[in-house]
């Protein structure tokens, strides 16, 4: 993955607009968060292969902090804190945010075919 360049990522997101696509969305602070810090509270959310179509998508932000939002017919999808992206060899657009130790904190991924499950 590489650091987000906003124009390039916007162009990649646009390729998925108005198509039937599969979405992977997750965020987590890890299963050990409260084990290592008793003030922490474990949270996470995960959805893989949600079938959606979005009218338009937009990446907003600067530096190392970006948000990506997708406007659906009857709702929204967004991810906050993404800072790297990659279009992989399967044509899937992977966006993720990592902490300083390289641990994934949030991921939003778009694909025209289902993600492996």
């Amino acid at each position: 993955m590489e650091p987000i360049q906003i124009e390039k990522l916007q162009n990649e997101i646009d390729q998925f607009a108005n198509k039937n696509i599969y979405v992977h969305l997750e965020t987590t602070n890890g299963a050990y968060a409260s084990h290592f810090d008793n003030n922490a509270y474990n949270v996470g959310a995960f959805i893989r292969n949600a079938k959606v179509s979005f009218d338009h998508g937009k990446v907003v932000g600067a530096g190392t902090k970006y948000r990506v939002g997708l406007k659906l017919d009857i709702g929204w999808i967004y991810a906050e804190g993404v800072n790297q992206y990659e279009k992989n060899e399967n044509g899937q657009l992977l966006m993720a945010g990592h902490d300083r130790e390289g641990r994934l904190m949030v991921a939003l991924q778009l694909s025209e075919s289902p993600f492996q499950y």
């Binding site: 993955m1 992977h24 997750e26 987590t28 890890g30 299963a31 050990y32 084990h35 996470g44 995960f46 790297q84 990659e86 992989n88 399967n90 899937q92 992977l94 993720a96 990592h98 130790e101 390289g102 641990r103 994934l104 904190m105 991921a107 991924q109 993600f115 492996q116 499950y117």
Partner: protein, 220 residues
């Protein structure tokens, strides 16, 4: 001497951090060891440091790391194909029956797994519980011993001292080599140690040099 030891943990690297020294000690004595690894750690947060994995490449990377780690330990490996972070949502009895089928074939004298309710990660708790249920399905006369590993901060307070305490400092180089085989997962820890300028082997030995288990009491 044990006849056959079966290790049942959900993630690639659970065997490395939790039981590599114990496993390697059994192998040095010529005891066959099989690792039943529940998932490929698909949902791991560590992507290497600097990152070299992503959510889609991680399973294949961790599978290779797991195979390499099992070569270091010189043990058989079966990957059971569950998905990381979902084990607690599977039907407990179904998972237990699946494990029982495998154990019936392998006929172990000892099973090593996590202590349900004291293993911190939901997959550890769920898979440990299923493993303990699987062993319960054996007739008492044929039932293998179970060593359950607790890692919760309050396990000594709640359960008392573990009755099995294996000093694994004698095989520590192999344990460290097993941990290093899981590069995507070990990178973060190692980078932190380097930053703190600690002797990695000495520091790891202090934290990981003793492997402790509770013998499960099926009559309790």
């Amino acid at each position: 001497m044990e006849k056959h030891v079966v290790v049942i943990y959900p993630h690639p690297d659970d065997e490395a951090f939790g039981a590599a020294g114990t496993i390697r000690t059994f192998r040095n004595e010529g005891v066959p060891v099989t690792y039943l690894c529940g998932t490929l750690g698909e949902m791991g947060r560590n992507m290497g440091n600097p990152t070299f994995a992503n959510r889609e490449t991680l399973p294949e990377i961790r599978k290779k790391e797991l195979i390499d780690a099992c070569k270091v330990l010189d043990i058989d490996l079966q990957m059971l194909g569950y998905r990381d972070k979902t084990l607690e949502f599977e039907d407990r009895k179904e998972v237990a029956t699946h494990l029982y089928g495998i154990l019936k074939e392998l006929q172990p004298s000892l099973v090593i797994t996590h202590y349900p309710g004291h293993a911190v990660h939901p997959d550890h708790d769920a898979f440990g519980a299923a493993a303990i249920e699987a062993v319960r399905m054996f007739d008492e006369a044929e039932r293998p011993t179970v060593w359950a590993q607790a890692i919760s901060l309050d396990h000594v307070e709640k359960l008392g001292e573990p009755d099995v305490k294996n000093d694994v400092t004698g095989v520590f180089k192999k344990k460290l080599e097993t941990i290093m085989a899981h590069k995507s997962q070990a990178d973060g820890m190692l980078a932190k140690m380097k930053q703190e300028k600690v002797d990695i082997e000495e520091s790891a030995k202090a934290r990981l040099g003793s492997e402790q288990f509770y013998t499960w009491d099926y009559n309790a």
